[in-house]
């Protein structure tokens, strides 16, 4: 028997009908009946189809050569005793088809009797591999490998069962010789192709099609090493929530320190084990790679020379980095700024792995090399001497296309040639309302990690592009409010609007969303912004110019109401990739560097140095930024004074960020 089986395998593994078997299909849906029949016939099976379980019983009795029954799990009488006993009696394997929407619970007896299950819609690939189940009754192998008792039909992540099944397989059975014989033959002949095809199919489908854990049985039979994860993995991660948790964990840990173990710990999900997470992580990364590759490349692949790219930055964006930069901008004379650290730079290189609305817009390199903006570095706009309004402001994005660059108002009073203005990096979370990167109001970390973890939506690091995202229904606000929104700090209303827009906009990596090289990286905010005077520009700060500070102060006043919490909706219709957020881990090294830098701040502060000490991030919980910034506390400094400078270590970056921003905010407002 094994011999002839081997011969069969050799000749035509995939399409050969093993023995003269007809297949009985029981389904009441005409369409799937038709498709399934057609598919089966392609594999040269004879197909008989019925619609009712009772008919099936009689058909089985009548026809002697039915080798397999494929039934729709939702049929009314499918688990009737008569049906099942007939099957058992005749030794006919049963495969179930589950419709997309399950309405009934399957009965135990049914699950015990069944060998395999498929989910609608049924693909050719599923049937292709079906032949393994369909063996001549004489072979007897089938019965012994029947693991039905060990498995559940409905896609569950029941690894214990799978393991039990594995044990089962290993246990010696009668006709083990046949089994072994079969395995050996399998190995010798090109069934490995089958296996590879199967694994590739599985790999391709793992995300989309949860497969029954019983799949593993097939692998076992093929004598290949059975990965417990394969079958269960598919089912595991189709649970959307779980995947969200996974993403959230990834965000928290950051790219660099995302190890399965820590992810697992964070996720705190009892049904996962280390291997699941590891393989999922691997797949996820691979998928990211693929996405990355498929994003259109623009001509502006920059070279190292053309953009300043903070070397100590890393994506994802860290709160400590944000505040570090912020402090630098505010408190350092431009000439003293480090070349390597862009001032307003938020976030590190843009990791395009997650498609974002801002996507490539912010990947501009320095304006000086407009044609070579890359996708990666944060947007840098070198200042030009003197405020060159037009130079910076005029991106010719049409309003409905522009996703984002807030107008770099000319008054990028960055009058020093070597200061760089950087746009906060666009973060791949375009769907979130933008949070101003900058500072004071910003809370990069307006992200409350706990809540966002729950909602799996990370706000943070949103690109600056506050209001200036031009989403299709964005309406232009009256002038003064626009000032406030020049990108940096989106108002709440704006946020919600943007959010609404963004949330329903799918990220389509079309070129229109990218900054056009031809535009020379000129960014136009709203058309109205071009009329902004120097004072109008940006908020907090880009500009170290003294005059601007005053203006900023006033502007900030008006904006107060807008500052603060950036609302985001939970459960938005956001593609999973977009929910990847930046990292907020506490990095002690960064803190040290920051502290180091801080020393040089003191002399250069525009306002009273007395306040400076208090600007430092402190230990105490500051509460939500909105509280502080919006309510304009009377004596924020007093509060800050309480806080020491030194207790930073180990503190959660979010708090640090918040505090920093609050403090800075307060200070600036003081003036």
């Amino acid at each position: 028997m094994a011999q002839s089986l081997a011969v069969n395998l050799v000749e035509n593994i995939v399409h050969e009908r093993v023995g003269d078997i007809s297949i009985l299909v029981i389904d009441d849906d005409n369409i799937s009946n038709a498709t399934l029949t057609s598919i089966l016939e392609k594999f040269s099976y004879k197909v008989i189809s019925v619609k009712v379980a009772n008919e099936a019983v009689s058909m089985i009795e009548k026809q002697k050569d039915i080798g397999l029954v494929i039934a729709n799990i939702e049929l009314p009488n499918i688990d009737s005793q008569s049906f099942l006993t007939t099957l058992l009696h005749k030794d006919i394997p049963l495969i179930l088809i589950t419709p997309e929407i399950m309405t009934k619970k399957t009965s135990d007896s049914l699950t015990k009797a069944t060998l395999f299950c498929l989910k609608k819609p049924i693909f050719v690939n599923d049937i292709e591999n079906l032949w393994q189940h369909v063996l001549p009754k004489k072979s007897q192998v089938f019965e012994k490998i029947n693991i039905a008792e060990k498995q559940k039909i409905v896609m569950t992540e029941d690894t214990k069962q799978i393991e039990a099944f594995m044990e089962n397989l290993k246990r010696p059975r009668t006709s083990q010789a046949t089994l072994l014989g079969r395995r050996k033959y399998m190995k010798a002949f090109p069934t490995s192709e089958m296996y590879q095809k199967r694994t590739s199919i599985e790999n391709a489908e793992w995300k989309t099609k949860p497969m029954c854990p019983i799949e593993i049985e097939n692998k076992g039979r093929e004598g290949e090493k059975v990965e417990i994860n394969i079958g269960s993995r598919c089912g595991l991660w189709t649970n959307f929530e779980r995947h969200m948790k996974f993403l959230a964990a990834l965000s928290i840990l950051g790219e660099k320190s995302s190890r399965p173990k820590s992810i697992l710990r964070i996720m705190n999900d009892p049904s996962l084990n280390h291997r699941h997470v590891a393989s999922h992580l691997q797949n996820y990364k691979a998928q990211i790679e693929r996405i990355n590759e498929t994003l259109p490349r623009n001509e502006w692949i920059s070279t190292e020379k053309t953009f300043k790219y903070p070397s100590n930055y890393e994506y994802p964006f860290k709160a400590s980095n944000l505040t570090k930069n912020l402090i630098e901008i505010f408190f350092k004379k431009p000439s003293e700024r480090k070349e390597t650290t862009p001032n307003l730079h938020l976030g590190g290189k843009l990791d395009l792995t997650t498609p974002s609305l801002f996507g490539n817009i912010l990947n501009n390199s320095a304006i000086e090399a407009p044609s070579t903006t890359s996708n990666n570095p944060p947007y840098n706009i070198p200042s030009t001497n003197g405020v060159n309004h037009s130079g910076l402001v005029s991106t010719s994005f049409s309003s409905d296309k522009l996703l984002g660059l807030p107008s770099l108002p000319s008054s990028v009073g960055v009058s020093n040639t070597d200061t760089r203005i950087c746009f906060p990096n666009s973060d791949p979370k375009p769907m979130q309302s933008s949070t101003s990167v900058f500072g004071t109001d910003m809370n990069p970390l307006d992200i409350d990690p706990i809540s966002t973890l729950n909602s799996c939506v990370f706000q943070a690091d949103h690109s600056i592009v506050g209001e200036n995202y031009f989403l299709p229904d964005y309406t232009i606000e009256p002038l003064d409010t626009n000032i406030d929104q020049i990108g940096w700090i989106p108002s709440m209303e704006k946020n919600s609007r943007n959010e609404a827009n963004m949330n329903h906009t799918d990220w389509i990596p079309s070129t229109e969303n990218y900054v056009h090289p031809e535009t020379d990286m000129n960014i136009i905010s709203l058309e109205t912004n071009t009329t902004q005077t120097g004072g109008a520009f940006s908020r907090e700060g880009f500009v170290p110019c003294e005059t601007n500070y005053d203006d900023n102060m006033t502007h900030r006043e008006t904006n107060k109401g807008d500052m603060g919490l950036v609302p985001f909706e939970e459960g938005d219709d956001v593609p999973i990739e977009d929910l990847i957020s930046f990292d907020i881990d506490v990095n002690e090294m960064d803190m040290d560097v920051w502290l180091e830098n801080y020393d040089t701040f003191e002399k250069n502060i525009h306002f009273s140095t007395g306040n400076l000490e208090n600007v430092l991030p402190s230990n105490t919980q500051v509460g939500s930024i909105s509280q502080i910034s919006m309510e304009g506390q009377d004596n924020p400094l007093a509060m800050h004074q309480r806080e020491g400078m030194n207790g930073m270590n180990g503190e959660d970056n979010i708090d640090i960020g918040r505090k920093n921003i609050d403090l800075i905010d307060e200070i600036l407002r003081e003036d």
Partner: protein, 154 residues
Amino acid sequence: MLGLGVDRLQADINRLLTSLFHQGVLDEQFLQLQQLQDDTSPTFVYDVINIYFDESDKLLRNLRLLLMDREFSDYKKIGLHLNQLVGSSSSIGARRVRNVCVAFRSASELSNRPGCLRGLEVVEHEYHYLKNMMHEIFQLEQQRLLAAGARYPM
């Protein structure tokens, strides 16, 4: 001359299909259907899709009758119909129809009458759109066959 017609028709058909794929109206299941068509069943796709349209017409008509009824309260029945519709739509590869059906279904699970009505409208809209497109494709296909056949007169 007639040969050219074939090419043009084929191009039209392809264009239509591609645009449907891009719009998400059809998905890969439809491709599988096409692959199943061969010499032994030269009109497979046509047959299956016609079955689908017949069934779905009936289902949609029933749904409409149910919902239009003043004393309507049987959301379960709607759910059943919808399940069927979902199943057959996905077997065909009619992704958009399937998706709006799922949305409709969730409205019916919540026993939300106006939601159901809206859902029904959307489903009907999508369904009819698909039907028209399919009819057009079939017509083109027929013409193409004729043109192709005429190329080699017996």
